[in-house]
Amino acid sequence: MIEVNDIYKSFDDNHVLKGVSATFKKGETSMIIGSSGSGKTVLVKCLLGLFEPDKGDICYDDRHYSQMTLKEKRGLRKEMGMVFQSGALFDSETIENNIKFPLKMFTDQGEEEMLERVNFVLNRVHLENVNHKYPAELSGGMQKRVAIARAIVMNPKYLFCDEPNSGLDPNTAIVIDNLIQEITDEYQMITVINSHDMNSVMEIGEKIIFLKDGLKKWEGSSETIFKTDNKDVTEFVYSSNLYKKVREAYNKE
């Protein structure tokens, strides 16, 4: 379980997080939503340890991040997988080397064993015959799938995704969503997704946290989000006519 206890984060005079608390459970896909500048990415980067909170603490299975040494923090990060918005694949390396990198760095596996694992995770994200291609030779959706494969190659306990569907067509976005949910169930990971995409939120959001101006304004699930009368949430989620109609239809049922 990840427990976020009242964290604050500022950049000079810009107070981005103003006391956010949340809990993320094992085997659950949690979504962080909110408009641009609400603090979603900063919260995820704090969870990853890329930003250190100014105040408050984050606890990973009873391990307090603020009390860890740099070495312990690096050790903890080996238990994390991250899918960046851009994919963040090493563009001068082949797909195989991209996925193999954490294995080479942190395990003593032989070449054959590593290749077997690489092929297994590529197969898991439904990609074949891409081992020797470079990231630039793949489509956006395929790059995201490679990023997921790289994130899960070390069997992480925690998976973080920063807008995994941005720039993808609706069909590919659904494939990526389903893949993340399947993997979360299968490996019983704690998955935290930062997203703007309301389709994803409705599809896989077992837990939804809504941020506005650096504060947590609402928490619920894809079920309860249809029923809530929280003004901030309804303004954000039901800003489009399509979702207004979906909500009306859902409430009629």
């Binding site: 990853l48 340890g49 890329l50 690096r74 050790g75 903890l76 990060r77 080996k78 994390m80 997988g81 991250m82 960046f84 918005q85 851009s86 963040a88 694949l89 090493f90 563009d91 990198f101 954490p102 080479k104 760095m105 942190f106 070390m154 973080f160």
Partner: protein, 246 residues
């Protein structure tokens, strides 16, 4: 204030760079890659510049030595001294600061703005150690060889220019370059080169690693890196010359 802050961050960065590599086999692999990128791929430009500058130094010396009382072999002697003491270690380092420095800043900077460095950090990799240490070791180990090659080609270029212009004979030139040879000057040149190599690898890495923004900022950081690397080389050259030769 900003400069002082940057100097502080630079030294903190060095603290992270000079940690034991997380995996020796990966470090070795990166080191060979960097020797190729930073060293072997610079040989062409170094050879080209050294040969022609050596020729120009010899011609300029010959043209300025017009007093009949000054022996002609001094042309070879002066060319050798200028090339070994200053041209090869310092001028070549400034050339490498431009070529290699911009490469280092832009490659690391691009990794920064495309979140590849964040990806390394998230995996638990010490990104500074992984990206910068192989560059520092490759430059410090390989640049002395480049400078030795530059010395040889510079002196050779001077000799060829004698043939081409007829300003001095081969015998005079060879007598000049054999005269009063001091092995310490080679040691001095190599010492300076190793210090400059360290600067060439670390200052551009600093600018690349801490860049913020997009491709435009990476371009600006590359320019700044080349400027500051050159400035630091020139300033250090002054102090090293005083310390090592006086």
């Amino acid at each position: 204030m900003k400069y002082l802050k940057n100097i502080g961050i630079y030294f903190i960065m060095l603290g992270q760079v000079f940690k034991k590599p997380q995996k020796i086999s990966i470090f070795r692999e990166s080191l060979f890659k960097e020797i190729e990128e930073l060293g072997i791929k610079s040989l062409g430009i170094v050879a080209f510049i050294s040969f022609f500058v050596g020729g120009v130094v010899a011609i300029q010396t010959a043209l300025n030595v017009d007093n009949p009382w000054i022996p002609k072999y001094l042309i070879g002697f002066a060319t050798k001294r200028s090339i070994i003491l200053e041209f090869s270690p310092t001028f070549m380092s400034v050339v490498l600061a431009g070529k290699v420095g911009s490469y280092i800043t832009s490659s690391i900077g691009t990794m920064r703005v495309t979140e590849q460095i964040d990806a390394l950090e998230v995996m638990g990799v010490n990104a500074l150690n992984y990206l910068v240490l192989p560059k520092v070791v490759a430059a410090v180990l390989f640049y002395p060889f480049i400078v030795l090659l530059a010395m040889f080609l510079g002196i050779f270029g001077g000799w060829v220019s004698g043939f081409a212009t007829g300003l001095f004979t081969s015998d005079h030139y060879i007598t000049g370059i054999q005269m009063d040879f001091k092995p310490y000057f080679i040691q001095y040149a190599i010492t300076k080169t190793m210090v400059f190599a360290f600067v060439i690898a670390t200052i551009p890495s600093f600018y690349g690693f801490y860049v913020k923004g997009g491709s435009l900022e990476v371009g600006k950081a590359s320019t700044q890196a080349v400027v500051w690397t050159s400035v630091v080389i020139i300033v250090l050259n002054y102090f090293l010359t005083q310390m090592l030769l006086s």
